[in-house]
Symmetry: C2
DNA sequence: TATTGTTATACTCTATAACTATA
DNA sequence: TATAGTTATAGAGTATAACAATA
């Protein structure tokens, strides 16, 4: 097995490269671990999470918050609805929109999945102390919050 | 425009969510900025970078270092070869493999692109001080280096 | 005139199986 | 028997245009 050391130093100095690799590791792990809940992956979970914490949220708001295009959310919401994890109700003021709500089953799955997601987060970052993890989150958040494209997500 | 504040706090506490969003911002920015060099995106650049710093590297080594499957690298390498940025040469010891080398043009493009990539990195993280950026890179790197799946990449 | 949710569709990215030539 | 590079292809993710209903 060829094991010559490569020089990757001029990639590892970039936040983009390092963030992408961390994202890759976490997302792959989550896809595996969320499977037991019938969730396809991190996006399914994020949708459940946001609806759970924001009862009556609309599809459009989910799209803004998760940086995905409306047509791509349709199938995700339909899948969760088919599995009886969420339901659509009439929006109180806007008849175009629909409020999204978790079902009882949806709340249960969300709570269980949240445990696993939290576990994975600690597990994947096991090389870091708790305070390092918090610091890391603070630094990362500073970056995407300051992004000029992020002004619409409410 | 509906601008009610959403509760996203229980997503923002996760490294996966924050790393994904930062990755999203940086990658999108890079796609735009690398276009002027005829590079399709960050992967094209990473390939140029690694070949530039590791003359004679093989496709297989690139795949390990960048976490991509061999079939998906074929088109990328061919594209860069067609644009006269790299060339394949006979491997010194293994007749199955091919060593990859930058052309003179490849070196020039790599150097110019590296400037832009470095600029984007600072630009995107403008909310952070230089020492915060270094710390962020250190913390992120600690995570993906400790990933059990990362043992093969040389 | 603009926005919500939707369909249809194209495009890209990612992943698997299988082949050849070498080791 | 295993590996490097490749082809073909399947599958998942991402993006755009256009429409009906409503604001």
């Amino acid at each position: 097995m060829k094991m010559e050391t490569l020089d990757t130093s001029s990639l590892e100095m970039f936040i983009g490269y390092n963030a992408k690799r961390v994202s890759f590791v976490v997302m792959n792990t989550l896809v595996n671990r969320l499977h037991e809940f019938g969730l396809q992956g991190p996006i399914d979970y994020s949708v459940l999470n946001l609806i759970g914490h924001n009862a009556g949220i609309t599809s459009r708001q989910l799209c803004s918050a998760l940086c995905i295009y409306p047509p791509n959310l349709v199938g995700i919401v339909r899948g969760l609805e088919d599995r009886n994890l969420l339901e659509k109700r009439q929006h109180p003021t806007d008849r175009r929109a629909q409020g999204l709500y978790l079902t009882q089953l949806g709340f249960a799955v969300q709570a269980d999945a949240e445990q696993v997601v939290a576990e994975v987060d600690v597990e994947v970052a096991s090389a870091l102390t708790a305070s390092e993890r918090h610091l890391l989150n603070k630094l990362l958040r500073k970056i995407w919050v300051s992004d000029p494209h992020f002004q619409k997500a409410g």
